[in-house]
Every structure is written in C-alpha cells, then in structure tokens.
Amino acid sequence: MIETPHSSKIVRVAAPAAVALVVLLLWQALTAAYDVPSYIVPSPRVVFDTLLRDRALLLSSLGVTLGIALAALAVAIVLGTLTALVFVQSRWIEMSLFPYAVLLQVTPIVALAPLIIIWVKDTRVALVLCAVVVAIFPIISNTTLGLRSVDPGLLDLFRLSRASRWQVLTRLRIPSALPYFFGGLRIASGLALIGAVVAEFVAGTGGSGAGLAYQILLAGFQLNIPRLFAALALIAVTGVALFGVTVWISRRALARWHESELDPTR
C-alpha cells in the first residue's frame, strides 16, 4: 500500500552509517597518530576487541540492566495508562492529582533513589521502582492529553446515539489517544533505560546481579577504560534499539490511519 522510492530508503540508512564510519576512522587515525594511551582514550579497535573479549561479562550485565528497564517500562505503561484513565474521569481528580505527577517528574531520581533503595528490601524491585518513577510521566501526560483530544463532533454523535460512558471510552477516547500514547512511549522507553542505569549507579549493586552501570563504575575505578567504553557503547546501542522498537510498534499500530505515521513520500 505504502511504497517508498527505493533510493530514499537506502539514503536513510546509508547517510548516518557513513557519518559513523567517518567518525570511527577519524577516531582510530587520531589515537594512532598521537599515540594516545588506551587508559585515556582507547581506539575503536581496542574497544571492539574488549567488547569481544569481555562479552560474557558485559552481555550478562546488559541482560540485568535491560531486564530492569523493560520491567520498569511495562509497569510505567500499565500504571501510567491507568492513571490517565482515572484523570479523565473528572477535571476535579485531574486537578487534585496532576501536580503530584509533576512533582514526581521534577524530583531528580538521584536524590530519590537512595530512599527507595533503603525502603524497599529487594534491590531488584527497588531499581525497577526508580526507573518507573523516571519513565512514567510522559505516559501519564501524553495519554491524558490524548484521551481528552477527541473530535467534539464525534463526541456529539456518540451523545446523540446515547452511548454509555464505557462505549465513549472504548470506541472513541482510547482509539483517539493511541497516537499520543505512542508519543509518550517513545520518550518513556529511553527514560526507563536511563532510570535503570542511574538507579544502579546509586545502589552500586555488584556480584551476580551487577548491571552495566556497575561495570562502568568498576572499570572506572580499575582504570579499565576500554571496558568502560565498551559498556557505554552497549548502553547507547540498547537505548537506540529500544527507541527503534517503539517506533516500529507505533508504526504498525497507526500507519493505516494516522498522519504522524503516513509516509510523506507517498
């Protein structure tokens, strides 16, 4: 149904890839030319080699961090959507509670995390909770906005047909809110990862449950800078991948009808 000219699709991938290649080559050339020691700035090659060598350790740590981030994202989606549904029931509820959602958003998680970690016995749960606090706000605010952004004509039509509150919610408000929800989800996916990493930093959990943040901390203490870079690269790639997945899901859900996902080249 939607066809993109082949060339533009290639360019969309090739252009940023070319930039990455140039930057990596330049980086490699500079570290070689100035003989920069790898405990200050490792060359891309060294980072890549470290990534391969330490893959067992790093991937298991990535698994821990990603697990926390995904669990937090899932909780944020469920809780955030439910909160938004409660908010749109009445202006009074929203007016009374929305400031507290904002409060949660503006309080730095680094300041909150120690408390949460003290209060919650299970560290994993505490970490997930921290990430939820960071990730939930865009879901709440976007979904609330979406549930309210209903075509007034359609609302009149539902009233004329004597639709129940439930029918208005399920057949009108929720479908209208989907594009807004997915907008919130994109932001929340990145925030969940950030929240997970920050919380790990604060908790400093080592041992078998050590996440990528702990590996970064440890590598820093040990001046194992190549490993630090390798962990950093893994986090970055994971963040991009998470974002990509949410974009893909939103495109799958909305491409048929919503302007934001229609192919502009069509």
Binding site: G153, D156, L157, R159, R162, Q167, R171, P175, R256, W257
Partner: protein, 285 residues
C-alpha cells in the same frame, strides 16, 4: 406550534412532498432562546414547527444562530428558555420506531481509524443491533449514497465529497424520521455540492424523510426546500418563513428557472434587509 404567526408562505408546499396538508408535527420549538454561559445571546425567542415530510432550510449569514437552533432541535444544546417537543413528547421518547432523529455535521466527522463500513455501522453498534441486521442496513445505506464499493476503505482514502457521503450513510443507517443537517456541503466545491444536493433531494422524497437543513447558500435553500426559514443575527432570530412552491423532482432546469430566480431574489432581499438593520428584523409574531 401555533402556525398562525408566520409572516409569509404558510404551509401548502407540503403538497409537493406528497404529505397531507395537516401532517403531524415532527418537532416544535416554542419560545426557545439561548444565552451562553459567557453571556453571548445566540438566539432570541424562536417559534418554529416542522411537520412530517417537510424540507425546511434555516438560511442566514454566519453568526445568526442557525447552528445553535439546529443543535437545540437535536437536543445537543439545552435552551435557556422555551420548550422543544419531538413528536409531541420529550427527547427521551425519541429513538423508537417512527421517532428517530439523525444528525449530519458540517465536517464528515468520521473515525479516522475505522473503515467506512465500521463508521457507518456506529449508531447501530452503539444501540446494540444484531450483526446480521446491522450488516444489511450498512450495505443498504452505502448503496443509497453510491459508495457500495468502498466499504473497506479508510476515510483518508476518500475525497471530501465521498467522506460526506459516508457521513450521510451513517445518518441514514438507523432509518431516521427526522434528519438534521448542519451545512453539510458547505466545504465542498460547487459541482460536488450540486450533485449531493440532487441526491439528498431524491433521498428525502423516496424515504419520506423530514429534514431540517442549515445553509448560507440561497441557491441551495431554494433548490432543496419546501420552506425556508430566514434568520438574522445579533441576536439570532427568525425573521421570515418562505414556502418554496415548486414541484419535485427539481433538476438543473429548475436551478436556472425564473421561479427559482424569483425566490432567490426574495430571500436575498430578506437576508440583506436583516443584515442592514441589525436587530430591526422584528419577529413575525
């Protein structure tokens, strides 16, 4: 209500629609006015009765309260004073067989995520109609508006005129007795509008509908109506009631006939007079 206080053109146009002269009153507004919460006086007291089989147009410039009056007639807006009776009863008694009303908005007002057939089916779904009945009604309604091949399309894949047809099909799907239309073709080009006007006129006659139609096009009002209620602004009020006494079906020849031109001139003078002297269009009562 009491039909005695209409300025001109009292009723006989009904004969053209094939309805008896003493047809039952479908909707009656008595002393209905509206002042919005912000203090805007949208409508001065209005008396208006629409009988079965009539095609009544509300004609007037922007801001003369046409849409407010129509929304009150639909029960979407509660009047500040006055009463509205539907088939002699309250709004709650509508919706039964022979007492159904449907509304067509200025814009197509379709659910962008739903296919054409789902959009048309909506009023039946909300009322909890069974599947087979609904399927049949949807197919029939789409055929009525000439969109039988487009059931599985999405609204955005259709032109503006086709979207408006979907909107009309959705209004027809419940077999309404009273059809309220708020400038439905106002945003369309002249050719599309003329075609839809013709189709609507045919539909009205074949289905024995009663229609209240808001428009600011004099030509459209003359072409479609058995009766034109002329409105003036500041505050919105009814200033004249003109019966369009010409036989149906009306075609392109009627559009350019002297009869149509005469009515057009008359309505035009009424609207211009009302516009020139705001508030001076004394109510015909």
């Amino acid at each position: 209500m009491d039909p005695g206080h209409r300025q001109q053109g009292e009723g006989p146009a009904l004969s053209a629609a094939g309805a008896p002269a003493e047809a039952a009153t479908v909707v009656a507004l008595a002393g209905v006015d509206k002042t919005f919460a912000n203090g805007t006086r949208a409508l001065a007291p209005v008396d208006l009765a629409v009988r079965r089989g009539e095609f009544v147009s509300l004609l007037g410039p922007s801001g003369c309260g046409k849409t407010t009056l129509l929304n009150i007639t639909a029960g979407l807006v509660t009047p500040t004073h006055g009463t509205v009776r539907w088939w002699g009863g309250p709004l709650a008694a509508t919706g039964a067989d022979g007492r159904r009303l449907a509304f067509v908005f200025q814009s197509p007002t379709l659910m962008p995520w739903a296919r054409v057939d789902t959009n048309v089916r909506l009023p039946l779904d909300l009322a909890g109609a069974d599947r087979a009945t609904a399927d049949r009604a949807v197919g029939e309604a789409l055929e009525r508006v000439g969109l039988q091949g487009f059931a599985h399309h999405l609204p955005r894949e259709l032109s503006g005129g086709m979207q408006m047809r979907v909107s009309i099909a959705r209004a027809l799907v419940t077999h309404p007795d009273l059809l309220l239309m708020d400038e439905p073709f106002g945003a369309l080009d002249e050719f599309t509008r003329q075609r839809l006007d013709e189709d609507l006129s045919t539909l009205w006659r074949e289905r024995g509908l009663t229609v209240m139609f808001v428009t600011h096009s004099i030509i459209e009002a003359v072409f479609l109506s058995t009766r034109v209620a002329v409105m003036a602004a500041r505050p919105g009020q009814l200033i004249a009631d003109v019966a369009i006494d010409a036989p149906f079906p009306r075609d392109d020849a009627f559009r350019v006939s002297t009869t149509a031109a005469d009515y057009g001139r008359r309505l035009s003078a009424l609207v211009a007079h009302a516009g020139a002297q705001p508030g001076a269009g004394a109510r015909s009562a």
